[in-house]
C-alpha cells in the first residue's frame, strides 16, 4: 500500500518536473500556445469566423487582403480567413483521429508482440516491417486510392501508415520492463496479463508515445493536406487547407494570397507540433539534453 502511494507521488513529481522543464523551453511553449489557439479556433469556429465559410459573393471574388477580408477572398468571393478558421476543425480532427487509430492498433499490436513474444511477436513485427517498407505517404496514397477519397478514409489511410511506429515503441518498452521484478511479483500474485500491461507497462512507455503522437499529429495533418492538394483527399468546397491550396494553385499567377494563407496555416500548425514534440522529448528525458 505504502509503496503504491510513494509511486504515485513519484509520478506526480515526474510530470511536475516535466512541465517545469517544458516551461523553460520558449520555443516549445510557443508551439503549445499556437496549438491551444488552433484548438480554440476549431471549437469556436462559428463564433470567431467573420463570415460563413460557404457564402459566395461573386461580386467580391479574388480580392486581396483588406480590412473587410484580412486574408482576401477566393474565386467565389468566399472569405479566406473564415475558411482557414473552419479548416482548423478539419485538420485537427484528421490529425487527432488518425493518431488515435494508429495509437490504438499500434499500441495493441506492440503490446501483444512484446508481452507474449515468440512466433506471434515475430509475425507481427515482420508485418510491421513490410508496412514500413513502403514510404508512408505512398502507403496512404494507395489506401486512399483503394477506399476512395473522403475524410474518414484520409484518417484511416494516414492512421494505418503510422501503426508500425507505435507498435515498435510499445514493444520495445515492454521488452525492457517485462522481466523486471515487480512484474514477476504481479504475475506471482495472479494478476491478469492485461491488468499488468495496462497498470504497469503502459505508464512506462508513455513518454516516448507522447512524443511520437505529437509528431504523428503533424504528420497526419501534413499527409491529409498533401493528399487533398493532389486531389486525392477532401475535395472543394469543404474548407480544407490542402484543397484550398490546390484551388489557389490555379490562380497562382495573379492571386498569390489564395495560396499564401492556407499554406501558412499548415506550416504554422506543423511547426507548432514539431517544436512541442521536440520540447516534450527534451523535457521527458532530461538525459538527452546537450
Amino acid at each position: 500500500m505504502n509503496q503504491k502511494k510513494q509511486n504515485k507521488e513519484k509520478k506526480y513529481s515526474f510530470w511536475g518536473d516535466t512541465w517545469k522543464r517544458l516551461k523553460r523551453n520558449r520555443l516549445a511553449m510557443f508551439g503549445l500556445f499556437i496549438i491551444g489557439l488552433l484548438v480554440f479556433c476549431a471549437i469556436f469556429a462559428d463564433l470567431i469566423a467573420p463570415y460563413d465559410y460557404a457564402t459566395q459573393d461573386l461580386m467580391n471574388a479574388y480580392q486581396g487582403p483588406s480590412l473587410q477580408h484580412w486574408f482576401g477572398t477566393d474565386e467565389f468571393g468566399r472569405d479566406i480567413l473564415s475558411r482557414v478558421i473552419y479548416g482548423t476543425r478539419i485538420s485537427l480532427q484528421i490529425g487527432f483521429i488518425a493518431v488515435g487509430i494508429s495509437l490504438i492498433f499500434g499500441g495493441f499490436l506492440g503490446a501483444v508482440a512484446g508481452y507474449y513474444g515468440g512466433k506471434l511477436d515475430n509475425f507481427i513485427m515482420r508485418v510491421m516491417d513490410i508496412i514500413m517498407s513502403i514510404p508512408s505517404i505512398l502507403l496512404a496514397i494507395s489506401i486512399v486510392a483503394a477506399l476512395g477519397s473522403s475524410m474518414t478514409n484520409l484518417m484511416i489511410a494516414t492512421g494505418i501508415s503510422y501503426i508500425p511506429s507505435y507498435a515498435r515503441i510499445v514493444r520495445a518498452s515492454i521488452l525492457g520492463i517485462k522481466d523486471q521484478e515487480f512484474i514477476e511479483a504481479a504475475k506471482a500474485v495472479g494478476t491478469s496479463d492485461w491488468t499488468i500491461i495496462i497498470r504497469h507497462i503502459l505508464p512506462n512507455c508513455l513518454a516516448p508515445i507522447i512524443v511520437q503522437a505529437t509528431l504523428g499529429v503533424a504528420f497526419a495533418i501534413l499527409t491529409a493536406a498533401g493528399l487533398s492538394f493532389i486531389g486525392l483527399g477532401i475535395a472543394p468546397p469543404t474548407p480544407e487547407w490542402g484543397s484550398m491550396l490546390s484551388t489557389g494553385r490555379n490562380y497562382i499567377r495573379d492571386y498569390w494570397h489564395m495560396t499564401l494563407f492556407p499554406g501558412l496555416a499548415i506550416a504554422l500548425t506543423i511547426f507548432a507540433l514539431n517544436v512541442l514534440g521536440d520540447g516534450l522529448r527534451d523535457a521527458l528525458d532530461p538525459k538527452l539534453r546537450g
Binding site: 517498407s133 505512398l138 498533401g226 498569390w256
Partner: protein, 309 residues
Amino acid sequence: MFKYIIKRLLMLIPILLVVTFVIFTLLYITPGDPAKMILGQTATEEAVAELRAELGLDQPFLIQYLNYMKDLIFHFDIGTSYTTGQPVIDEIMNCLPATLKLALSSILIAVVVGVPIGVISAVKQYSIFDNIVMVLGLAGISMPVFWLGLLLIILFSVRLGILPASGYSTWQQMILPAVTLSAQSIAVVARMTRSSMLEEIRKDYIRTVRMKGQTEMRITIFHGLRNALIPIVTVIGTQFGSLLGGAVMCETIFSIPGIGRLMVDSIKTRNFPIVQGGVLFIAIGFALVNLLVDIIYAFLDPKIKAQYK
C-alpha cells in the same frame, strides 16, 4: 560481403510478394468496374462482359492474383494500362527517368548542404550560426513540400521571372523542383548531423586525438564526422522514403511527368494496373535504398563489417 548482398536481395522477394498481395487486395476490393471504366458509361452489357473476360476480371480473386504474379515473374509483365492499352512496365519506364533525376538531385543537395551545416553548427554550438540553423531547421521540417513549391513559383517564376515553373529537361527547370523537394531533407540531415556530431565530439577518443597534436579541423572531420556518419546515413536512407512521397507532390506542382504524377492521374481514372505497378516500383526502389544503407554501414562500422565476414 558479396554473400550478404545476395542474401539481402533474396530477402526482397518475400517483401515484394506481400507488398504486391496487399496492393492487389486493396485494389480488388475497390468499388468500380474497370471494364466499364475503359469502355465508358454508354457501353453495352455484352461488350463489358467480353472485356471483363479478356482482362481476366471474371476470375476469382486468388486466380487473378496468381495470374498477376505469374506474368510479373515470368514475363516481367505487370499488366496493361486501361486507358492507353500500353504495357504498364513501358509507361512506368517512360516516367522513371524524371523521378530518378528529381529524387537523386534532391538527395544530393540534402547531403551536400545538410552535412556541412550540421557539422559547423555542432562545432559552434550555441553560436549565432547554430541558433539560426536550429530555427531554420525546424522551419524546414515543418514546411509542406507543396506549399514551398508554390511559394518558390510565386517568387522566382511569377515575380522575378528568372526560373521556369515547369518541365524537367534543362538544369534551370530542375532548380525549383529539386530545391523544393530537398528543403525538408536538408533540414533533417543538418539536424541529425548536428546532434550526432555533438555526441561524438564529446567522447573520450576525441580527447585522445587532441592529445596527439592533431588539428581541430582534422579531428572534426576524420574522427568526429567519420564516427557520426552512421546515424547520418540512416537518416538519409529514411529521408529517401519521404522524398519519394514528396516527389508525388513535386511532380504535380511542377508538371513533371514522373511516376508520382502518373500514379495520381491513374488513381483518378481508376487505372489500377498503373497504380499497382507504381507502388511496386517505389517499394522496390525503397528496399534497394535500404539495402544500400546497410551495405554502407558495413564500410562505416568495423563491428558490423566483422559480422558479415
